[in-house]
Amino acid sequence: MKRTIPLVIVFTCGFFMLTAFFIPVRFVQDMSQMLQNWYVGVAAFFVFIGIINLIKINLEKIQRKLRDWQYSFILLGFLFFMMFAGFVLRGHTAGPVFQYMFNYFYTPCSATMFSLLAFFVASASFRAFRAKTPEATLLLIAAVIVMIGRIPVGYSIWHGFPSLVEWIMTVPNTAANRGIIFGINLGLISMALRVLLGIERSYMGGGD
């Protein structure tokens, strides 16, 4: 029973959504929309579950003075402060305190993490972009051409570089991407069918 009910729900809802794609009747489309709205509603509720989990784990760390408990203190402090700033210190829209925190704390921190990519791309290039096989060599040559061709320096070296890059992006890259996308979506359809038919059940935590 514990396993059967979820499987029945998966089967019913899954096949309903699949057939709704082919039935333009307003009633069916409204039902389909309602199911999707239910998901959005459940997902919104789960935000609270996540926050509770976060608070619980970090409070425990503080209480038991586990390793790096000070960071948990800072995390919870900022969490509650942002919630206070967002819900209490506001008018029609986010108040000045929330906007300040967003513009001068959250935005720079987020941008900083994204900027790490520049450094990590450099170290990955140095370590991993080696011409060990003919395919790797081909990849390397294409990567170098695209990297140089997409910057003004490339245009200065040779005016034809950007056109060559465009050809690489438009022809072999597009062809390869399409092939990958086809394969991925076929795999997705196969997995979806296994899930719908209840053959694939490990995501529910159960055995096969």
Partner: protein, 360 residues
């Protein structure tokens, strides 16, 4: 000038028809595209001779207008009105036309539905084929063969295993695929008594992961091994999540990292940080633009559909392997369709291409 104007009026022939494959709430009006005429008004009436009211503005080059406010069961008439240097001009009156409900979208059924039905049939055929006891073999996937060894390595070193199930929620198929693999990984780590960390980016994914890991521990006969605090929600924010996971990697130094699921820009940040700690890394994603980063920085990478096949591969269940065989046959079918389409287009035969033209 009048003669040219007359030519313009009589040349602008509009047609109106019930929008196909819809719920009977719209009528489509079309006309030949011409870039020389200005913005026009589209007008509607219940009478062909009078009572026309403006229902929208269109540019001539648009060549199509959909009246989504048409009531079902009523006959409508349409015409276009525009102004040029000679004055006010009108097109012909198209109609009567009535919006009708279609129970099925035949365009989608013919194209997408038929292909999906064929694919489903092929997959189900191979599932039954496998159920009948016939052996199904699939090629070796190095990334999946290495899972046991990777977990064994962590056990020997006395270090934990880190499993990152992507940054999307459970409505993303890749997350479901990742959870399926998590079940196998959790069972193995429970068996060996190795610590398993599963930080998640969404609370629903956390709840699913907790259930998966708990059940795996029970199956492995080690319910005491399960620690709910090791499967935790971090944050919904992409870079907040990746900085927290990096922190886990740098503090707890897991010996084995799994990155399986949907990833975006944070893929290289995770992989490089993991590499700097000396961990063995197995990644898998269907995000084609993140695959190069995982290939460069990880020891093993599951490419696209290999992620979706992972659960079947790891279980080695004949029924699941049968579905993979069916999927492969479906792929051959699509390749054949593509080749046939390319040949017919090269020969100038458009009938096959037109079957798949983009339409609502």
């Amino acid at each position: 000038m009048f003669w040219i104007g007359f030519l313009i009026i009589s040349a602008l022939n509009i047609e109106a028809f019930d929008t196909p494959n819809d719920d009977g709430s719209s009528i489509t009006i079309t006309w030949p595209a011409d870039t020389n005429l200005p913005v026009m008004e589209i007008m509607r009436s219940l009478d062909p001779g009078r009572g026309f009211e403006k229902i929208g503005d269109v540019a001539l080059r648009d060549s199509l207008f959909q009246d989504a406010a048409a009531a079902r069961g009523k006959d409508y008439f349409y015409r276009l009105r525009w102004t040029d240097p000679e004055g006010e001009k009108f097109s012909n009156v198209a109609g009567p036309v009535r919006a009708r409900i279609q129970l099925l979208n035949f365009f989608r059924l013919r194209n997408i539905g038929l292909l999906i039905a064929i694919l489903f049939a092929v997959i189900i055929f191979y599932i039954r084929h496998a159920r009948s006891g016939k052996k199904v073999t699939i090629r070796r996937i190095p990334g999946l063969t290495a899972v046991d060894d990777a977990i064994g390595r962590a056990t020997e070193m006395g270090k934990p295993v880190l499993f990152v199930p992507g940054i999307m929620d459970i409505d993303e198929p890749q997350t479901i695929a990742a959870m399926s693999i998590l079940a196998r990984v959790a069972e193995k780590t429970a068996e060996y008594g190795t610590t398993l960390f599963v930080p998640t980016c969404h609370a629903m994914a956390m709840t699913m992961a907790q259930q998966v890991v708990k059940e795996s521990a029970i199956r492995a006969g080690r319910p005491d091994w399960y620690n709910i605090d090791n499967i935790r929600y971090l944050t919904d924010d992409q870079f907040g999540y990746v900085s927290a996971v990096d922190g886990i990697m740098l503090r707890d130094r897991p010996a084995t990292n799994f990155y399986l699921g949907s990833f975006y820009a944070e893929s290289l940040i995770l992989a490089e940080t993991g590499h700097s700690t000396g961990a063995i890394q197995i990644a898998g994603t269907a995000m084609s633009d993140q695959l190069p980063f995982f290939v460069a920085a990880c020891d093993y990478t599951l490419l696209g559909e290999e992620l979706y096949a992972a659960s079947a591969y790891l279980s080695q269940e004949p029924v699941q392997l049968g579905s993979l065989k069916g999927q492969d046959l479906g792929k051959f079918l699509f390749i054949a369709i593509i080749i046939f389409g390319v040949i017919t287009r090269l020969l100038g035969w458009n009938f096959f291409y037109n079957l798949f033209s983009v339409q609502q």
